[in-house]
Symmetry: C2
Subunit: 204 residues, 2 copies
């Protein structure tokens, strides 16, 4: 008996269930997602354009959730605000990183957020040719720290004895607050470096 009186699915329901599925650690896929929604895989295609579109939807949904209003203020505020938000996103949803990495960003909301950041950098006097690189750094910085916060023990798994790494991995097991501190220090360093770099250009 298909087609109940009220719709079982919507784009939002699909996106949220997809995020839950990825976070659960279960193998991500259309079939598992349909199962979780109590629905046939083919039903999803009435609302959404397939697996890749669902992943792009997840990116958009999480971005809107973690970077809610456009961060306003000077470029330093925009950068630190964006990086902190991104890092929280990646730290709380580390398992979506492998899904979205390397996939072209098309979601208009996400594009707008990167555009906002790029504009702030240009306004701050960063030369055009370096803006995208800095945006890439900022993003990579957030990803790197997010993954570090989430799962240091799942990143490296040494079978052979190590001089330093093995000890640090076991020590890091309960080091979330320390990772927080390191992140803030690193972010401060990053901004300071950009400030120096920009002032150096100004002085020419």
């Amino acid at each position: 008996m298909p087609r109940p009186r009220v719709n079982l699915l919507s784009v939002e329901l699909i996106a949220d269930a997809a995020i839950e599925l990825a976070d659960s650690g279960e193998q991500f896929g259309v079939n598992a997602l349909a199962r979780r929604l109590g629905v046939t895989p083919s039903s999803l295609y009435n609302h959404v354009d397939g697996k890749d579109a669902i992943i792009e939807l997840m990116r958009g949904r999480l971005s809107r959730r973690y970077l809610p209003a456009a961060v306003t203020g000077d470029w330093e505020t925009v950068i630190t605000g964006t990086v902190r938000a991104l890092r929280r996103l990646y730290a709380e949803h580390p398992l979506i990183v492998p899904l979205i990495v390397g996939k072209t960003i098309t979601d208009p909301g996400v594009i707008a957020q990167y555009d906002h950041l790029a504009t702030a950098l240009v306004d701050a006097g960063v030369p055009d040719g370096e803006v995208l690189a800095i945006v890439a750094i900022v993003d990579a910085y957030a990803i790197g720290f997010g993954l570090d916060l989430a799962s240091p023990a799942e990143v490296w798994q040494p079978d052979t004895p190590t001089t330093t790494l093995g000890r640090l991995i076991t020590d890091a097991a309960r080091g979330a607050e320390r990772s927080d501190a390191a992140f803030e220090i690193g972010l401060e360093m990053l901004v300071a470096s950009l400030r120096v770099r920009r002032d150096g250009l100004r002085a020419r």
Copy 2:
């Protein structure tokens, strides 16, 4: 007629073909890999433990190729040497990034290289609790810049008008040398920041 006089496959042949396959942009998988090697998919399982093991093999092979001998010298030399090598790796093989990201590192050679870097940082006076974070940053920095160098136009694809991003993307099309310059500047900034951070600790 199975089993020719001389072996068709070896771990090295499989790893190299896998890297070529990923670089080609063709969908990566066991079947495509076997096709490329002129062999049945099931043949691969005589030499290798399945898809994930092949991917880990690719990581190991590329790491050995780009970081050949252990970088020696003071910690600054170790860091800059490692980051430059990693960035070249990611820039010349951007399509393997989505394959290896988020997958646990087990290859002994790769573990040894990260261990080497971690040891250099500890010897330099970086507190234990921050070493893994810095290693994560360094890695993320290399990935971010590698991806930026390889495919700025494939990272963002705005459908809606943007104030800054769209212009930068088209401008960046032929900006590989400029990206090189930005990378070196950023690396210099990174090392300088670490130096300040370490000296600050020393002074306490």
